[in-house]
């Protein structure tokens, strides 16, 4: 048959349980937006909005006082803000990976999680973009970042990786939103056609753009979707590579290394998958989506996390190898003292004060995911929930380790310092969770959180067997009456 069917020879089976119909898929997914919200949704939503309020207050105080309210100070000028930026944008990467790269590789299991992950991407990149914007200290001058004609004839310096970052992140956000919306058009049409009241019909109808499922449209739509997947794939790899250039092009020991781009991309995918997993497990049980997001999907995601954990673990090891192999004493100091905590050059034999961050990172990112070698762990919901949360904690520590432990003691002992986060640091970071979850909860409530049209395309018998039909067309009995003559 066609490539749409599972390949029996390698043990593939249909993704959804036998007997699932297109109508079941529509009912399950569209039902979430049509039924009254479960009480749990309201509790979470109120909590998220409250936390969002905390973010508003923290930002207002920051703008009023200036960035001095954060713990950033010489020599650690980048601290939690950039850690949070890299962490959030890394989380965003899973969405594009699932929707674009797995699409190009024809991994059909992506259909149950791609919409969800794309939404996460958009919201995570919004949270990420906030941090560099407020880190400028005077965010009302952020327009300086763009090459806008101005009376001072002042232009940005395009040789700076920070400028590349501006373009990479804003392009990434824009393309992610477009990709997400294009995927949503047929599903908005489904919601429009199922609407019972006029307001719903009008609102969903507006976003559905008058979609009527015409094959003459699907034909171009599918190609456009393929093009989006094609451009998003290098885009997603470029974004975190460019983020890593912010570090790698500097001379700071611990940053100045060529492994950073692939290392950052692998870490980004790793953390993104972990957050998709955490949120998917919660939504799956709250909205009863077990029939569409099956254990088989979760098993595959866990394998992905195991794979990226190994990549990240390799990068951690390679950094140490290069620190030794380069014979660079500053590099070795950063890795052995600042990260591992060994008092290599410390006459008193003291451990580096931030050693615990490095051990937290390695435990969560390298040791914990090894549990996914076992099939029983890959198919156990409590284990994967705990592991995915730990991985995200570990990935936050990874960025903290890279940024702060490289900066606080680098070349001259006379300019060494220490970083202590302030309450505003904590509240700002916490507040972005409010922003993320507020948007996310609105999304799961009002937008189909699983790609209805794409899931239907993976059902058994969803596609006609054209070649068999073409050859059989002339046989008697396949058509009831002859075509009327002109």
């Amino acid at each position: 048959m066609s490539y749409d069917a599972p390949i029996k020879e390698i043990g593939e089976t249909y993704l959804l349980p036998e007997g699932t119909t297109a109508n079941d898929v529509t009912e399950t997914i569209a039902g979430v937006t049509e039924n009254p919200a479960p009480r749990g949704w309201w509790l979470l939503f109120l909590a998220s909005v409250s936390v969002l309020g905390i973010m508003g207050a923290a930002l207002a105080y920051l703008f009023y006082q200036g960035v001095g309210v954060w713990g950033n100070n010489a020599p650690v000028y980048w601290a939690w803000d950039i850690t949070n930026f890299v962490w959030w944008i890394g989380i965003g990467h899973a969405g594009t990976l699932i929707s674009a790269i797995l699409f190009l590789f024809r991994q059909k299991w992506r259909t149950s999680i791609n919409r969800f992950a794309e939404a996460m991407t958009v919201f995570a990149v919004l949270c990420a973009g906030l941090f560099p914007a407020i880190h400028t200290g005077r965010p009302w001058f952020d327009y300086y970042l763009f090459p806008l004609p101005n009376q001072m004839d002042m232009w940005p310096n395009f040789k700076s990786p920070l400028m590349w970052d501006v373009f990479a992140v804003s392009t990434y956000l824009t393309i992610s939103v477009i990709f997400w919306y294009v995927g949503l058009i047929p599903d908005f049409a489904t919601l429009r056609d199922r609407s019972k009241n006029l307001t719903r019909k009008r609102v969903y109808g507006f976003f559905a753009l008058g979609w009527r499922g015409a094959h003459r449209h699907w034909q171009h739509y599918e190609r456009a979707y393929l093009i989006f997947a094609g451009i998003s794939t290098p885009l997603v790899l470029s974004v975190h590579s460019v983020v890593s250039f912010d570090f790698a092009t500097s001379v700071v020991p611990g940053w100045h290394t060529t492994i950073f781009p692939p290392y950052f991309v692998a870490g980004a995918v790793f953390s993104g998958f972990a957050l998709v997993m955490t949120l998917m497990l919660i939504c799956r049980s709250v909205f009863k989506l077990h029939g569409i997001v099956t254990i088989k999907h979760l098993d595959l995601m866990n394998k992905f996390m195991l794979g990226t954990a190994l990549l990240v673990g390799y990068a951690y090891a390679m950094e140490f190898f290069i620190a030794w192999y380069s014979s660079n004493p500053y590099e070795q100091w950063v890795f052995l003292h600042n990260r591992l905590g060994w008092g290599m050059l410390d006459s008193k034999g003291n451990w580096g004060p931030l050693w615990w961050a490095y051990y937290a990172m390695v435990s969560c990112n390298v040791i914990v995911p090894q549990i996914f070698w076992f099939k029983r762990a890959r198919t156990s919901v409590p284990i994967m929930l705990i592991a995915s949360v730990l991985i995200n904690i570990g990935m936050w520590f990874e960025r903290f380790v890279i940024i702060v432990t490289s900066l606080y003691q680098d070349f001259l002992p006379s300019s060494w310092g220490m970083f202590h986060p302030t309450l505003i640091d904590v509240l700002t970071y916490l507040g972005t969770f409010g922003l993320f979850f507020t948007l996310f909860l609105l999304f799961v409530r009002w937008v189909p959180m699983i790609a209805i049209a794409e899931v239907k395309g993976t059902l058994p018998g969803a596609h006609p067997d054209i070649h068999a039909l073409e050859s059989r067309q002339e046989e008697p009995g396949t058509a009831a009456a002859p075509v009327p003559a002109e």
Partner: protein
């Protein structure tokens, strides 16, 4: 109802299975209709062939605008960071020497060339798609049919528009009936 006058807009035939609509689509294709379409809840593979459609050319638009984005990025960065003239009074370009590199150094411009290329390609693909498929359009007569709501659910439809040169109230109906639809309707639209 101010205006009661109506005229036929299209025939709508409903099918239950992918094979049924594919078989019917081949009959309509072989009968030589041009302005007709299949409506399915998801992108059904193989229907291009069953309907006899030409391959889509949307990639050409994406490619042209992608390259335009790359070109724009080169010009923008060379103008602002390497050249010294004032184009249309938007401000003088100013050669920046950073890290001892030549002002127009190419390697450092690659990331932004790529990003702007992707950005323009993305916009062109979105608006190119909407332009080619002529959406948004909310007033299509096919929405007059209540039955058509299932086209985004689990039913499959073929529509043949009255604008088609071969459209004939009797013969088109007979053709569609010969394909064993589960339902057949003449959808009418109000005369403007």
């Amino acid at each position: 109802m101010a205006n009661e006058k109506k005229k036929p807009a299209l025939y709508l035939a409903e099918y239950d299975t992918p094979n049924a609509i594919a078989r019917a689509a081949m009959r309509v294709r072989d009968a030589g209709y041009q302005k007709w379409d299949c409506h399915t809840p998801y992108a059904m593979h193989g229907m291009d062939e069953a309907m006899g459609l030409k391959p889509t050319r949307i990639g050409v638009i994406s490619f042209i605008f992608g390259m335009l984005g790359v070109g724009t990025a080169v010009l923008m960065m060379q103008y602002t960071n390497a050249w010294t003239f004032n184009l249309l009074d938007i401000g003088w370009g100013y050669p920046l020497v950073v890290g001892g590199k030549p002002p127009g150094a190419f390697p450092s411009m690659v990331p932004i060339m790529f990003e702007l290329g992707v950005l323009l390609c993305g916009f062109a693909t979105l608006f190119g798609l909407l332009g080619i498929i002529k959406l948004p359009r909310h007033n299509h007569p096919i929405f007059e049919s209540d039955r058509f709501e299932a086209a985004s659910g689990d039913k499959f439809f073929i529509s043949i528009e009255a604008d088609d040169q071969k459209f004939d109230l009797e013969r088109t109906k007979a053709l569609l009936e010969s394909t064993n639809p589960t339902y057949l309707e003449l959808v009418e639209e109000e005369v403007q």
